[in-house]
Amino acid sequence: MKHFYSDFIKGLWRENPTFRLLIGLCPTLAVTNNALGGFSMGVSTAFVLILSSTMISLVKHLIPDKVRIPAYIVLIATFVTILELFMNAYLPAIYAQLGIFLPLIVVNCIILGRAEAFASKMPVSRSIFDALGMGFGIIWALTSIGIMRELFGTGQVFGFQVMPSSFEPIGMMTAAPGAFITLGTAVAIVTYISDRIAKKHAKGKKATE
């Protein structure tokens, strides 16, 4: 039980793929110019991640070691195609917004990375929790970046006006430089908080000794 909890929780903060591991960054930057884009991208990635991790964990014994990477990629690509067709049919607006970054989930390092590092070694149950943790990690990371950029770039959040009407939107936030700068700042903030926590932890430990 403890395993499941730690597998799940680590993806949210300690090993957050976006802020700590710094992988899967292209969509993080590209589609987070509003909160909805970030959220839907996060959910899409999480969806593929969970399915592929589960699947890979299930079939890991059937795949010969030599060809495992191509096999994983094909597997992931399949799920991505399914997702793509689904979105195209039912959520065309979001499909259009995500553009080529939806098919590019195939090469998102998070998914292959989890497949290699975790799902191919661990039992199915743990893989699912790991994928869930990572998935939620991506979702909150992308959504929060999306919210920040949308809030300052347009004064809205998820399309609703939040800022007073006198607020002049800061165009940079929704443009490319804003994406990099927001992510850089977010990474620095997360690093700062983590360092503080680690320091506190170390101090607490020393005091008890």
């Binding site: 098919p103 590019l104 292959l112 430089p177 994406a179 992510l183």
Partner: protein, 190 residues
């Protein structure tokens, strides 16, 4: 002239890294030293040109005649993965130094979304074969340019007193943001 503008557009105006957000992972990861970044950039450029040709052929001779657009992702990634594997083996044999310098990033070219992204863009814009090659070359060189500029500045940053939380990835993103800001001057150029 058309080719020239296409080429320029791929390098400067629609720079893959700084404007289109493709290939960010290696951009942040391999841009610490000028030598490595040149190597990485050129390897990526090479793969891009080869992959643009290969995916174009696959698209026009397999996927389109047999009406299989839904297999695009799978087919492209297969082709690209094999291409990268070839380059990797080739480099390992011919230039062990370069191979060592690239370290873990060479296999990562497979999962470099810049390559798959380029293949998808080529299909999206229905470029002809020649255009595809030029676009692939331009995109690769644009990637290299961004990488090398970044590496040059990051080598200097070793001597700067950067705030602790920003050291490493944080300042790299800020730097990329400022580079992107500088490149925004090319908007609407072509």
């Amino acid at each position: 002239m058309n080719f020239f503008f296409l080429f320029l557009s791929a390098i400067l105006v629609n720079n893959f890294v700084l404007v289109q957000f493709l290939g960010i992972c290696p951009f942040i990861g391999v841009s610490k030293q000028i030598e490595t970044s040149i190597g990485m950039g050129l390897a990526t450029t090479f793969v891009m040109v080869v992959a643009s040709a290969a995916t174009w052929l696959v698209q026009h001779f397999i996927l389109e005649p047999f009406n299989l657009p839904f297999l695009q992702n799978v087919a492209f990634i297969l082709v690209i993965a094999s291409m990268v594997q070839l380059v990797e083996m080739f480099l390992r044999k011919t230039s062990p130094n370069l191979y060592n310098a690239m370290g873990i990033y060479l296999p990562l070219i497979t999962t470099n979304c810049a390559i798959l992204g380029m293949a998808l863009i080529l299909v999206l814009r229905s470029y002809a074969f020649g255009e595809s090659l030029v676009y692939g070359l331009g995109a690769g060189l644009g990637f290299t340019l961004a990488l090398v500029l970044m590496a040059g500045i990051r080598e200097e940053l070793k001597f700067a007193d950067i705030p602790k939380p920003f050291q490493g990835a944080g300042i790299a993103f800020i730097l990329a943001g400022l580079l992107s800001l500088a490149f925004s001057g090319f908007a609407g150029l072509v």
